[in-house]
């Protein structure tokens, strides 16, 4: 088991993390390229940048959106905030970066990390419950909508057990293995599932607006392609 952990912490982590970063960079670059191409082709090149910016900021910091469907909104925001803070600012994680690459930054206290981890776990569980309990969400949900929440909760729960051996009913190695493996699985899934909203969300309002800006003669060209130029209405 120890050798598996070592592999996952070494080449496994390097692969998963690089896959995630390159995948997200690729997605961002492709989207930016498509936006630029679309605007080059567009007949109307004016965009309501201010409005796009405001809408984007409102959703990136969705405090003003909480009142609508309060419980769902709150649990969703808590999951995002707590999960990201713990992943980035847990002392143990930063120590790994310092050991591997020599880079480090300030850490949050372990006590706070514990609280945030528990908040994130509860929020993930609450989101599952809400999906099951709410008719519209249950009707829409696919396998991945539940699976991703579970995969998201796994590194949080196993990480908590790693940090608290006395509460851990399993061996330390087993908890650590699950923690590292599930985190790396998450890294791999981020760019290829809906979790890619990590990189796409900041640009989606721009994308929506640009999509309404067609090239001049778009309709005529479609007609020509479909050989319908002279076809009556």
């Amino acid at each position: 088991m120890q050798s598996w952990i070592e592999w996952l912490r070494g080449p496994g982590f390097a692969f998963a993390f690089t896959f995630m970063v390159l995948g997200l960079v690729r997605r961002a670059a492709l989207t930016a390229w498509e936006v630029a191409r679309a605007m080059r082709r567009a007949g109307d090149k004016s965009l309501p940048y201010r409005q796009i910016g405001i809408t984007t900021l409102k959703w990136l910091v969705p405090l003003g959106k909480l009142k609508s469907q309060l419980v769902f909104s709150l649990t969703s925001v808590l999951l995002h905030a707590a999960g990201v803070i713990v992943a980035l600012f847990l002392g143990g994680h930063i120590a790994l970066w310092a050991r591997g690459l020599g880079i480090f930054w300030p850490a949050i206290p372990n006590g706070l990390a514990d609280v945030l981890t528990l908040v994130a776990i509860v929020a993930a569980a609450a989101l599952v419950v809400q999906r099951v309990a709410a008719g519209p969400a249950r009707a829409l949900s696919r396998f991945q909508d539940y699976a991703l929440l579970l995969i998201l909760a796994l590194p949080l729960a196993s990480g908590f057990l790693v940090m608290h051996p006395r509460l851990n009913p399993f061996s330390f190695e087993a908890a650590l293995l699950v923690h590292v493996a599930s985190a790396e699985l998450l890294f791999v899934l981020i760019p290829v599932t809906k979790l890619s909203h990590a990189i796409l969300l900041p640009g989606v309002h721009l994308v929506s607006e640009v999509a309404w800006h067609w090239p001049p003669d778009a309709g005529s060209k479609v007609a020509a392609t479909l050989r319908k130029e002279n076809q009556p209405v």
Partner: protein, 464 residues
């Protein structure tokens, strides 16, 4: 072969005779993705869609029916499924390895039914955490379906009349148009005692070429008289072109290809008359489709001004003299989705109404979050679904109207007005009078002729 009521709306016979529909639909989809910018949005949306159902809470139809098929995200997924399977490499690979979704006639029928149960009001966009514009998806799906001739007959017939018939959606020939306008000029003399108010035709070099919803010439004489009165007292330079006098553009509702042709006809008329700007009458979708003028015709195309923007500008400049007596009756305002949802025209009408009405009250919610009248996206023209429009689709709007206790319900949109009148008829709101904004402006303009006319407290003029 299915009967003519295969769908909740009538379609033309050719829609029922089209064969090999999935293949033709996919060919159209490929062509549209190639020549438009929709790929960008679909690529992002299909990756982002989280199926959280927040959009359901924003949709007035889902609020009324509680049916899964009326959840905006569910509807969009019908198109996303096709896009993923046939236009993404992951979808193609998945299909090769495991089979799965294949586009069928049944799927297309379900898509058609779904996108015409939606008014494309775009209210749900503001509640989607992922920023998915379900209105855009509905808009695109309707275009694609129209390429296999699957579109409501009412929309197609009107568009045909505009592009290949008399030249406008109400099939009003030029002599009839001129007769109507002369009659309205006489009305100014008879009712208001004012001379010289004109509906000018084919004036070259005018600042504004006027494009109202052409149906206003038949159904909304007070709105048109209000427009003419404002131009008269402000000395506005305007004209109506006899080559094209219809702002309606049903292409917006079912085919970008048709929308482009109609928009280009509008611009051609402005250029023929050497006009400088397009003045759109009280019509939400006419205004929004005119905002696509630079899209289809480039940055040198004429500027687009909605008549409410012009009126407010003149009102602020003190060029519209008003009677001392304002409108006493409680008045409320309905925001047409096509001009308000993106926040483009929300304050102008309110400023005008607060100036001319003593008791102006808001509906709740309003402005960018207002509920659709229930007849948006062209569905108001589909008479066979009236029970649906004024029932589940119009329920929230009826509640909104009732809660205001208003006598005048102002809706600066020909489609909204028709739908709201039907909502009032079908929901027991008999005391509510649906009017255009310029109908009320007309009541309070002081023509300086010694107080003749019905005045601010006068009833509606008799409809012609």
């Amino acid at each position: 072969m299915a009967d003519r009521r295969k769908y909740s709306f009538y379609v033309e016979d050719k829609a029922l005779q089209t064969t090999d529909r999935p293949k033709k639909f996919l060919e159209a989809f490929a062509a549209v993705l190639q020549h438009s910018n929709y790929f960008l949005a679909l690529d992002a949306y299909t990756r982002l869609s989280t199926k959280c159902s927040r959009c359901a809470a924003a949709c007035q139809l889902y609020q009324a029916t509680g049916q899964e098929r009326d959840i905006p995200c569910h509807r969009s997924e019908l198109l996303f499924k096709i896009f993923r399977r046939y236009f993404t490499s992951a979808g193609a690979l998945k299909a090769r390895l495991w089979g799965g979704f294949t586009l069928t006639d049944e799927h297309l029928d379900a898509l058609a039914e779904a996108v015409y149960r939606c008014t494309a009001c775009r209210r749900c966009k503001s509640t989607c955490p992922m920023g998915i514009d379900h209105g855009l998806v509905t808009h695109l799906a309707r275009w694609l379906l129209s390429e296999i001739d699957l579109a409501p007959k009412a929309l197609v017939v009107a568009t045909r009349a505009q592009l290949e018939g008399v030249g406008n959606t109400s099939a009003i020939p030029v002599p009839a148009l001129k007769d109507t306008c002369e009659f309205l000029e006489e009305e100014f003399r008879d009712i208001y005692g004012v001379e010289g108010v004109k509906f000018p035709f084919d004036v070259e070099g005018a600042e504004f070429v006027f494009f109202p919803a052409v149906s206003d010439y038949l159904l909304e004489p007070d709105t048109l008289m209000g427009n003419a009165a404002v131009m008269h007292v402000t000395g506005g330079s305007w004209t109506i072109g006899t080559g094209n006098y219809d702002g309606i553009n049903y292409g917006l509702f079912y085919s970008d290809r048709m929308m482009e042709r109609i928009v280009k006809n509008v611009v051609a008329e402005v250029r023929r008359l050497k006009g400088r700007k397009i003045l759109v009458g009280e019509c939400g979708h006419a205004t929004r489709s005119a905002w696509f003028v630079p899209t289809f015709c480039g940055p040198d195309a004429p500027e687009v001004v909605n008549c409410m923007q012009y009126t407010l500008e003149q009102l602020r400049a003190g060029k519209i003299p008003l009677k001392a007596q304002r409108i006493e009756e409680r008045t409320t305002y309905h925001d047409p989705c096509n001009i308000a949802r993106a926040g483009r025209i929300t304050e102008e009408p309110r400023e005008i109404l607060k100036t001319i009405c003593k008791d102006f009250v808001e509906m709740t919610p309003n402005r960018t979050e207002n509920y659709c009248c229930g007849g948006g996206g062209g569905t108001v023209s589909i008479d066979e679904i009236r029970a649906f429009r004024t029932g589940p689709m119009g329920k929230r709007k009826a509640e909104q109207i009732r809660a205001t206790g208003a006598k005048y319900l102002v809706a600066p949109c020909a489609n909204c007005k028709k739908q709201l009148r039907e909502i009032c008829e079908d929901n027991g709101l008999d005391s509510v009078e649906v009017v255009g904004l310029h109908d009320l402006v007309l009541k309070v303009i002081d023509f300086g002729v010694g107080g003749s006319g019905p005045g601010a407290q006068g009833g509606q003029r008799e409809k012609t």
